[in-house]
Each structure stands twice: as structure tokens, then as C-alpha cells.
Amino acid sequence: MSAVVSWARRATLFVGFVFLYAPIVILAVMSFNASRLVSVWGGFSTKWYAALLENEQLLHSAKVSLAAALTSATISTLLGLLAAISLTRFGRFRTRFLFFGAVHAPLVLPEVVLGLALLTCFVAFGVGRGFITLVIGHVTLTMCFTTVAILAALRDRDPALEEAAMDLGATPLGAFVRVALPQIAPAIVTAYLLAFTLSLDDLVIASFATGPGATTLPMRIYSQVRLGVSPQINAISTLLLALVAVALGLAALVSFRRARRDGQVVTSLARAPDNAS
């Protein structure tokens, strides 16, 4: 192959990466900018990170976001597991098709519509909006993803494995816990991290579902950016980015290790949605 073609390929790859990641890299780099101006490099500094620690509002929002992400990811993983079990185990029950559709609906539903629906619902039932409604909103948003991830893993399993466990004296629950659960554990971890990430960076649903006192980090950032960009926003965004990257990295690692163990193709992450928001 000629050197020209080879170089053209590398250049194409480089342009592609620049297109995808340059904004993120610039954002992260600028968080270490000593200057207050967003567009001018004034030397390396971590002062914005230090300032962040004194920004009560931002810290409070970060806590709200983390707490909401942890809670909603836990609930939605549990619900997703139950939904996936009922979709794979109970045969063709009468409302299966309806249930299948209902579980998967938020995948294709515009977030704004889902958020508005949630808001209408909370108002109709007279539920005061706050942390709890925020969690409910995020569970609604993320449960479809956890269900899909766990469903795929449950479907790939050999049903004879659990029968074998029962044949050897394990109760149905025991067989599930000892044989099925270890098999789908990587998918459950992936689902949890996915839900966590989705909840952490969600802005739309949170704007509808939450109330005063439970402002999430993305909401805070968004409202502050409207008043002008402070390098503190870059700093908190970089931290958020790092957290999401770590979570997704863990999910990838889990899938990869499992794939290497079982000699399968990594599929769980390929099903993950685009997280740019």
C-alpha cells in the first residue's frame, strides 16, 4: 500500500477524533486555565477546582445528583431485573405484548414528552415535587435501558442450567440465585452503571420532575451558563466527565472480562445509548 493512502487514512482518523473529542478536551484543558477568560490561556492553575469546594450551591447540587443517581440506578436495576425475568420466564402471558411495549416505550419517547407527562402526573396526584419525584422520574427514564440490558443476558442463557441446579436439590429461588444470577451479574452491573450515568447527566427529566431544594448538577450548570461561563463550570464539568468515564469504563471492563471468559462478542455496551447530552 502506498504511503499516501496510509497517511490519508491516518489523517481521516485524526479529523474524526478531533471532531468528536476536541470540545471535550478543550473544556477539560480550560478548567486548568489560570485566566478568567474562557478563550485566553493564562497558564496552568487548579484554582477553579479549589473555588469549587467553596461553592455551596454547586456542591449541594452535586450531592443531589449523586444521591439521585445512586438511588434511581438501584431501583431501576431491581425493577429492570424483575421486568426481564417476567418477560423471559412466564411464557406468553396475556398482557405480555402490552408489558413489553410499556417497558420499552421510554427508549423511543422524546424526553420532553416523558418529562411533561411526569409533571402532569405529579400535579394531578398532588405530589409535591422534590427529591422523591426526581428519583421517580429517573427510574422511569432508565428502567427501559436496564431491562433491555438484563433481558439480553437472560435470553442468552441455557435454561437447562437452572433445571440442572434444581435437579441437584436447589429450590427454584436457590437455582436462580446460585446459577442464573452469576451468569447475568455482568449484565446487571452494566445496567446499573448505565442507569447511574443516565441519571447523573440528565437535564430534561430533572427540570420537569424536581422541585426547589433538589436542583441537580446539570440543572445548576445550565442555569449558571446562561448568566455567563465561569471556569468553575469547566472544572465541575470535567469532574462529571471523569465520573461518567470511570462508570462507563467499569462497565466496559466487566463486559470485556466476561467476553474473554466466555469467548463471546462484547454486546452489552454496543446496546448502550449515546450519552452525549
Binding site: 442450567l161 440442572a164 441446579a165 435437579d167 441437584l168
Partner: protein
Amino acid sequence: MSAPLLSVKSVSKKFGAVVALEDVSLDVGAGEFFALLGPSGCGKTTLMRCIAGFESPDAGTIALNGDDLSGVPPYRRPVNMMFQSYALFPHLNVFENIAFGLRRQGETRDAIDARVNELLAMTQLSAFGPRRIVELSGGQKQRVALARALAPRPKMLLLDEPLGALDRKLREETQFQLKEIQRLTQTSFLIVTHDQDEALALADRIAVMRAGRVEQIAGPMEIYDRPATRFVAGFVGETNFIEGRLDRNGAAALITEYGRIPCEPGNLPDGAQATLSVRPERIGVARDGEGIAGVVENFVFRGETTLLRVRVASNIVLRAAASHGERHAIGDSVRLSFPPGAGALLAEER
């Protein structure tokens, strides 16, 4: 035989409109090696799953040692199953797979260690305890599955096509191992297979099944030499079906358009339409003398014997096996002789 270990009485099972089992009854004795033989879809696997407890019969009873098993879940039945796919737990190593049933029984650590090591030795897997399942060959997986099912000392072991996934050479070797292990453990083995050679080679008794019904239950030799129905005769081994009318006067014989074929009349009446099933190797082939005249149309060398296709009438070809050393050419005239006990006489069906 003393009281049977397993007693299946008039068991029927339907899946929707499909009849999987219809009025199936059979007994399996303690320490017996019993085979359920039949083509796929004959209900043999369904019957096995009913015994294991994964399916419940619509009618009839299954009893073990005289205790009715209906309503007893699989995990409380003292029978274990070796699955066709082996169903080994991929997240556990070989040792833990075999120990699984023992741990559920709440045995002590020492007892489990001793029992698992005993089984590893029996299945020639002693060095493989810490291995992962994915690191095993097909034959090794098969032995782990066997050891795992035997570990909790079941009253009866169910084996679903245990040799199905192995290649030919390994299969024969494993047949001997399986027989040896059955003899050592004194456990009743109930094997499901569609392979007649496997059933004949392994089992003390065979139940031949067809479309949800049991056609015949007998020892391998009887199944082969005295098939009860045309289906059994055709499914187990090679055979000739000779149709004719029974003549009980003097030495009983079947009258066909090409001659009299001596046979044992059984309890069929004189003049009845009947079919005689004769294995090719039971037919004598000679160049001249007594017997049915025919012309060699084709032959296949099989090593031990040479299988001849002999045309005895314009529309009838019989297969006969000439023993080693006899040479025949296409177009040779031969005489086929039938010793009186050579075939099994079957009543005309329907």
C-alpha cells in the same frame, strides 16, 4: 425381579394438541440399565422429564420405591439427570460442579471432598478439579456431567442422549465406561437415546417407543430377534419384511408368491395374512441346493459380511448377508434358505 424401583403406570401427557405420551407403563428394577429408544419426537425425553419432575403427567402415576412422585418438585426427588447439553455451570470449576448437589444436601466439608475426589477418580478426571468448564474437551465435559449427576447418590440416574455430542470413536469408548460405572455404582440408569446400537450395547432392557406409545419392552437380544411389531423390527437393525399367508399344516410356513418360507407360527390362526421379519444375516446363502431361488442384483462389502441384494421375484428384493470369504458376483444365481427360527412373525397391522 423384586418390587420395581421405578414404576410408571398409564402415563399420558399432551402439549396442546400434540400427544407426547399416551398410556405409557413400564417398570425399572434396582440396579438395572434401562433404555428408552425411539425416533425423535416419540416422547422418550418427555417421559424422562416427567420422571425428573420438570413436567407433570396429565394422567397416570410415577412411583419410586412405591412412593407416588406426583406433586414432588424436582429438587426433592432422589433421581438426578444428566442433560443432553450437559448443563454444566460455567461460573464454577469442575470440583464445584460435582460438589453442587452435595452442598445442597448440606454435607460436611470432609464428606464433600471425599465424595468429589472419589467421583473424579472414577471418571478419570482427578487432575481436573480446579479446571474451568470452558477449558474442557467434549468428552471431559460429558464425564463431569456424569460425575455431577452421580455425586448425590441418586436412586436412579436419568441420562438424556448422554453420548449424542461425542464423535464416533469416543462414543464406543464411553459406552464401556458408562457400563462400568453403572456396574460399580449399582445405580439404576435410565437412558434416553435414538441410537439403536447404543441401546443394544448398553441396556439390560429396552423400551422401544413410537409416537408417545411403548411398542415393546424386552432385553436387547429379544428386541433384535423377536421384535413385537413391524416398527420395532424396522427401527432396530436391518431387516427384510416378507409378506404372505400363514400355513399351519405340518411344518408351519409363510406362503409367498416365490415360495414357502418356514417360520414359527406363534398364536396366529391358519390362513392369516402376516409379515415375517428376517434379519439379513439369518438368511443362508448358497449357490445351489434347497431354498428360494434368486439372482444377485447388487452387493456391498461390509468387512465381516457381504450384504447381497437378491431379487427373488419381479417386484421383490431380499437382503441377505453372505459370510466372510464367500464371493458373489452380480447376476449369480443363489438359493436363500430360512432356518425355522430365523424370523419373527408379525400380525398384519390395521
